[in-house]
Point group: C2
Chain length 238, copies 2
Amino acid sequence: MQGVRALLFDVFGTVVDWRSGVAREAAVFFARRGINADPHAFADAWRDRYQPAMQAVRSGVRPFTRLDTLHRENLLGILRSVGVDPTGLPEAEIDDLNRAWHRLDPWPDSIGGLERLKSRFIIAPLSNGNVALLLNMAKRAGLPWDAILGAEVAQAYKPQPEAYLRTADILGLDPAACMLVAAHNGDLAAARRCGLRTAFVARPTEHGPNQATDLAPSEAWDIVASDFNDLATRLGCA
Amino acid sequence: MQGVRALLFDVFGTVVDWRSGVAREAAVFFARRGINADPHAFADAWRDRYQPAMQAVRSGVRPFTRLDTLHRENLLGILRSVGVDPTGLPEAEIDDLNRAWHRLDPWPDSIGGLERLKSRFIIAPLSNGNVALLLNMAKRAGLPWDAILGAEVAQAYKPQPEAYLRTADILGLDPAACMLVAAHNGDLAAARRCGLRTAFVARPTEHGPNQATDLAPSEAWDIVASDFNDLATRLGCA
């Protein structure tokens, strides 16, 4: 991997366990409000509205809108689907639940691996999460990013090419000097089409115990690693 | 300073000693090329073209253009002023000299103070420097930023209000939850007009031994500190 200067990371699923984290926060909310609902199903349903919401931005139907705003719009719909009228809730309580996505825990190897990788490479998120979300997450969890990049800085949602290409340009690097690290084959395929290097790290329980997608690499990615520590070793980090 | 969540830092002069750093790099270039010129005067002359170049962006004469590009345009003019025809130089050598601004050293208290401040606050640059410049500087010098913000992310150069207000908005914070730390009264005045809190740290040798500006606060800023360690103490950091 001669010439790679920056490692750019997908975050939801690749660095942090969004499903467990959102379910944990939803369970607290349900208990407080006496709601009888499955918090993991709630997390899955919230996430199901993620791609359609971004698609409205990608297609140009609406201007670039940060993910916190899209998450909040989706949350109102999901609350109604479990029988909660959000108009009866304080705005601050909805905002706090919406920030569940700011309080996700890393996978066990994430921080240790990132610390090792940081010694040799620029490390930054290239996530569809917005800056405040990623920064608050990093500050709470101890993710040692060198910078907070991604869709909001690039003003384009992955997998649009602009998300990858503008990020490389902002870093002052050729795409080939950037490597995307992701647990999602589709994200890596889009990055490769833009000229970035690619590293796949499987996260087989991102979607829970019955996950059927992204269990294995779908193409010959530049690196396939079992976790971030294995990635650091493969990239020659002490 | 109840309610302050993020400390945003001016960088050139406030965090790093740009004049000594640029002069050091210019001296190496002059020695290699056999040029007889004063490296500190060269640094001052390069910096003199900084505000006029940004003014073309602020006034709308040209679209937002990152500082690396403005610095490079200005460098070509400065080289001619010391009798060097830049068309006779390899592009890579000009680019490397231009990146002198990526290789500036912090003031002696900067890193220790930032480490202390980071324990209680979000810390990020709010500089007119571009992301790659600030990131490469931080990586080389060990500046422990939580994020790299500033003019390029906000798409506006200080002291335009958008530079401060968009940065607070990106952080998901009210302006009053953000404090600008700067060695320049004009920067602080602009931030205050936008509702940010303000901290002045004098850097009396930023412009060399005969500095006549910004030696003392021009208004009653929220905090006046002698250096970043004093600032950390005043803000209650261990």
